[in-house]
Structure formats: structure tokens, C-alpha cells
């Protein structure tokens, strides 16, 4: 494996671990200020949304304040659905580079699966894949864009950003 691939894989593992450990501020610090966080909706059973601005998405956040608002909701202890907060474990796997380090931008993909344990819903397993645009800023890589494909098109219960 190339050094770059190791670096990308380490970042993705770190991101997943920070979510599971509920270290929200450290997680948010991995993102660029102008980050795009996108979970497309399913247009039909097998057709994924492809125009986030003009379609209904499951989540489409542009810029860090939007992510901070989501974190506020789940970490405040005041969101009905997230009190008590569900516990999660992410498995991130099959990390692949989709581009070389060109102009300090790297594209990568990975598979994910998350086990959530929640007082109301019990155990839930969700999964899909990730696509990243990573940007080199100083020594490390930051997340400039993350697309999360959630395979369920009929969702049993609710889903928040620490569960995907």
C-alpha cells in the first residue's frame, strides 16, 4: 500500500472512532470550513439522487455551521430521540484511492457498516459506502466533501449523523 493510501485510511478510521467515542468537536475539526456533507435520497428503489441542490436529500449540508447544528442537537441531551444517546460502532473497510494527490486534493471511497444500540429501537445495523474529497491543509488531510450512501430506501426508525 502506498503511503498516501495509509494516510487516507488512517484518517477515515480516526473519523469513525471519534464519532463512536462522541468526541464531537474533534470530529468536526477534521472538516474544512466549506465542507459538503451529503446523504442522497433514493429517487426510486435503485436510483440514487444525483443533483443535491435541486432534489430532496436525506441530508445536504454545505459549510461547517450546519454540521455544528446537527452536533448541538444530538449532544445537547434535549433531543427527544437522542436522549439517551444511541451508542454506535462503525466498521470502515475497503478503503480505495480514486485519485492521486493532485493539487492537494485526494478522492477516496470506503465501505461502512454501523451498529447502533438504542433504548427505543434496540440494535440496528445500517450500511453503505462513502466517497470523500480530501484536501491537504498544512501537514494533514482535511475532509472537504463526504458523500454517504445509505442503502436503506425504507428507513426503520430515525437516523442521525453519528449513526451513518
Amino acid at each position: 500500500m502506498s503511503k498516501l493510501c495509509d494516510e487516507v485510511r488512517d484518517l477515515l478510521y480516526l473519523e469513525a472512532d471519534l464519532l463512536d467515542r462522541q468526541r464531537w468537536d474533534d470530529w468536526l475539526a477534521l472538516y474544512t470550513d466549506d465542507c459538503v456533507y451529503w446523504v442522497p435520497s433514493w429517487l426510486s428503489e435503485d436510483e440514487l439522487g444525483d443533483d443535491p441542490e435541486m432534489q430532496v436529500n436525506m441530508i445536504y449540508i454545505v459549510g461547517k455551521p450546519g454540521l455544528a447544528a446537527r452536533l448541538h442537537r444530538i449532544s445537547s441531551g434535549q433531543a427527544y430521540a437522542e436522549m439517551p444517546l444511541s451508542q454506535t460502532s462503525h466498521l470502515v473497510n475497503t478503503v480505495r484511492l480514486l485519485s492521486d494527490d493532485q493539487d492537494d486534493v485526494v478522492s477516496a471511497s470506503a465501505k461502512w457498516m454501523t451498529l447502533s444500540v438504542d433504548a427505543r429501537m434496540g440494535k440496528q445495523i445500517r450500511g453503505g459506502w462513502y466517497e470523500y474529497q480530501l484536501r491537504r491543509a498544512g501537514e494533514g488531510l482535511s475532509i472537504a466533501a463526504k458523500k454517504i450512501v445509505l442503502l436503506e430506501d425504507v428507513i426503520d426508525g430515525a437516523v442521525d449523523i453519528h449513526q451513518i
Binding site: S41, L43, E45, M54, M58, I59, P65, H72, R73, Q78
Partner: protein, 435 residues
């Protein structure tokens, strides 16, 4: 048990309570499917979802699978979704296009009028031959289209859709009249399952009383986002509604329909505001105020809610079991609105109305807790008395402005009198007293 025993009401003392068994009892649920969902009008889809010849939309009426289809003459038909031969569902998808519906089991074919047009190996094997004319699909007895919203009824002996919608029509018109080109369902949707009775969803969607508790955290999250400098198409409109600092009200509309409304704290940031001048050319100031200056959650008995507040939503529900309901949500929008307005509408939709958003998960959790609590049968009654002594019989001034002849009016959206007609209608339908 008589359905009427499940509701306790009196005018003096002012009392309105419902037995929580209505949310849990399997016999009540079975009766609802039969008497309400398979005997009366139910919402099916919006006409923009079946735009061209052969476009179909598959759904359910009670337990019965049906599909809606655009026919060759431009009309809209609906059929039981089962091949005449052995009953296989004919639509491979929830939505699709098929001018000929081919049963994937034995290859029988149907046109968009429901006629059987091809039978594999038709010439041999049938004892007395086979007449395809006798094997058409079973139509849904009545299909009605109110300004683009398509409803069906499995019982031919039912009042006309317009009569059934009754005084809800002027409120539906407030949505339909937003664009001269009509409305369209925007691509993208969400379907989710709740662990609650369908009536829990019906009641939650028009419950103004929970907003300042359940959605306080949503208001805080929005405040945080704005304080951090975010304005990416998500302009502020939420605060006043959630804090309760704007005028509000609710209506018991009749026929089981009801509605809550709340003044918009900053109407100028609503996606529709760009159309104000055009709307004033066509409609009265009072009607345009209703469209632009008051957010509304309208419930149409039994299975759809039309929301027009921070964004615009069709929310359809399907009862699966006493404690399971499938919800489908769509963003509906005026055709021809600007890209900026459409984007603002969509982002607000995602914020609030999606089960992956920041408000709907909390609604679900609250109603699911009510579902659990409803099993506490020794604590039998739910209380819905708030507002009984201050309500107005008939329409208030605002309802009169758009000629909505509602059954009762209340000056606050956190009053509960809007549920009374809904429960009375529900009980009458369960007893077969009205269609």
C-alpha cells in the same frame, strides 16, 4: 365493544377523552382497515407523479395493493394491483412507466385501461377457451382528483370527493393556487416506518402543543447555525413558531379533517414570497395573507397531511399493524418557482421533515412513547380538553375570509378541540354510520 364507548365526552363539565385502546387493540385496527381505509376515500398520490401515459404509482388502500396509472386519454385510473390470472402484483416498482403492464409470473399483459390484451398460449389448455375481455383488472370503484391530489375509494356507494373534502377545500386551494402552472412533487422522497399507530401520526402532525417542547432543540440548533454565520439557502423562519411568539389557531374542519396554523415571523424569507405581487393580481389580500403569512398543517382524514410552513410537504401514511405505520414524505412545490426559492424550500424540507433531519426523529420518539404508554391499560384515558371553554363554534373571522365553513375554531394552535370532530367522525365511520 362499541366504538362509541372508546370516546368519553360531555359539554358540562367540559370533558373529552379517548380510550388508549384505540391505538393498541387488534380488533379496533381490523375494523379501521375495513370500515375506514377499504370503504371510504383515501389519498393515493399527486397527479404530477403520474404525468405521462403509462406512468404508474403503486400504493395500498388498507391492506389492498393498488396502482394509479395515467391512461391513453390522459385520464387517471386506479386498479387492484393483482394479475387477473393468479394475483401477482403487476408493478415492479413503486413508481414507473409501462404502457403495457406485463405480469412477470406468466406473462399476461394489460393496457393502461386495465384491459387484458395478451395471454400467453391463449389458444390452448382452457376447457372452454379463454375470453380476454373477461380478464380485465379490477378497478378501484371511485377515483377522484381534487386539483391534482388523487384519491380513491373501494366502495362505489360513497359521497363525491368534493363533498368529502368539504370545508378543507379552501385550505387545499391555498396550496394549489400558489402557481398558475400548478404544483409538482420534487424528485427525491423518503419512506420510513414508525412504531406507532397511524392515528398517533395523524394527531402529531396537527399538534401545536408539542412544538415548544419537542422542537425547542430544533430552534436552538437553528440559532446556533445562524450565529455561526450559515445562510446557505436556509434563511431563518423558525424561531417565532417554535417559541410561540406569533399568532396561531386551529380548526375542526368537519369530515374528520383538521388544521393548525401559525403566523410566519418573517414571511419575506418564505420561498413563495417572490410571487406576492403575482398572487395579489389574482386573489384577495386576505387569501394571499393566508398563503404567505400563515404556516399551515392540514390533515385530511384518514391518511394524508399537507404541510405548508417552513417548507411544503405531502405526508402519506399507511397502517400496517396497530403499532406499525409506514410514512412516505414528498416535497411539493409550485411549478416555475426560482432556483433560489426551490433550493431554500428543499433545504428547509431536509432540516425539518426528513427522518434523517433535526425535528422529525423527535416527533417519532414522542409518538412512539405514547404508543408504549397506551399499553398501560389501567391508565385508560387520554385527555383532549384544552381549549373547550374558549373555542368558537363555526368559522372565525380568518376562516370566513376564505369561505372555509369549518365546524369549530380556536385562537391557539396548542388547543385540542380540533381533534373532537376527528374522533367523532372516526367513531361514526367505525360504526358504519357515515361513508
Amino acid at each position: 365493544m362499541s366504538t362509541r364507548q372508546l370516546i368519553m365526552e360531555s359539554a358540562d363539565p367540559a370533558l373529552f377523552r379517548v380510550d388508549r385502546r384505540i391505538y393498541t387493540d387488534p380488533d379496533v385496527f381490523e375494523r379501521e382497515l375495513k370500515q375506514i381505509f377499504e370503504r371510504g376515500w383515501v389519498y393515493l398520490c399527486h397527479e404530477s407523479q403520474v404525468e405521462a401515459h403509462g406512468d404508474y404509482y403503486a400504493t395500498f388502500m388498507g391492506r389492498q395493493p393498488v396502482f394509479v396509472i395515467r391512461q391513453s386519454d390522459g385520464g387517471i385510473g386506479a386498479f387492484i394491483n393483482a394479475c387477473s390470472h393468479r394475483g401477482a402484483v403487476l408493478t415492479p416498482r413503486r413508481r414507473g412507466r409501462a404502457r403495457t403492464l406485463v405480469c412477470r409470473f406468466h406473462g399476461w399483459c394489460y393496457n393502461t385501461e386495465g384491459d387484458c390484451v395478451r395471454v400467453k398460449d391463449e389458444a390452448e389448455g382452457w376447457p372452454d377457451g379463454l375470453e380476454k375481455e373477461n380478464y380485465g383488472l379490477t378497478p378501484v370503484a371511485r377515483v377522484g382528483n381534487y386539483r391534482g391530489f388523487i384519491f380513491g375509494c373501494l366502495n362505489g356507494e360513497v359521497e363525491d370527493l368534493e363533498d368529502n373534502l368539504g370545508s378543507a377545500r379552501p385550505f387545499i386551494d391555498l396550496l394549489c393556487d400558489q402557481s398558475p402552472d400548478g404544483l409538482e412533487v420534487v424528485p427525491g422522497q423518503q419512506t420510513y416506518i414508525i412504531r406507532g399507530n397511524w392515528k398517533m401520526q395523524a394527531e402529531n402532525g396537527v399538534d401545536g402543543y408539542h412544538v415548544s417542547t419537542v422542537h425547542r432543540v430544533f430552534g436552538q440548533a437553528m440559532g446556533k447555525r445562524e450565529a455561526l454565520g450559515d445562510n446557505a439557502g436556509k434563511r431563518p423562519t423558525e424561531a417565532g413558531r417554535i417559541k410561540g411568539s406569533v399568532p396561531t389557531g386551529c380548526y375542526d374542519i368537519g369530515h374528520g379533517h383538521n388544521m393548525i396554523w401559525a403566523g410566519r415571523a418573517s414571511p419575506k424569507v418564505a420561498p413563495l414570497f417572490e410571487a406576492e405581487a403575482d398572487l395579489l393580481q389574482l386573489f384577495s389580500q386576505e387569501k394571499v395573507d393566508w398563503m404567505l403569512r400563515r404556516g399551515r398543517n392540514l390533515y385530511l382524514f384518514p391518511n394524508v397531511q399537507l404541510m405548508d410552513q417552513s417548507s411544503t410537504q405531502i405526508r402519506v401514511f399507511r397502517p400496517i399493524a396497530p403499532d406499525r405505520t409506514e410514512i412516505r414524505v414528498y416535497c411539493i412545490a409550485p411549478k416555475g418557482e426560482s432556483r433560489t426559492a426551490r433550493m431554500a424550500r428543499l433545504r428547509k424540507f431536509e432540516d425539518f421533515f426528513m427522518v434523517t433531519g433535526m425535528a422529525t426523529p423527535d416527533d417519532l420518539a414522542a409518538l412512539e412513547d405514547c404508543q408504549i404508554g397506551a399499553h398501560g391499560s389501567q391508565a385508560r384515558w387520554s385527555d383532549m380538553e384544552r381549549g373547550m371553554t374558549t373555542m368558537t363554534q363555526g368559522p372565525d373571522k380568518l376562516a370566513k375570509e376564505i369561505e372555509a365553513d369549518v365546524h369549530s375554531s380556536a385562537e391557539r394552535w396548542d388547543h385540542e378541540t380540533l381533534y373532537h370532530g376527528y374522533f367523532r367522525h372516526w367513531a361514526a365511520r367505525m360504526e358504519g354510520q357515515v361513508e
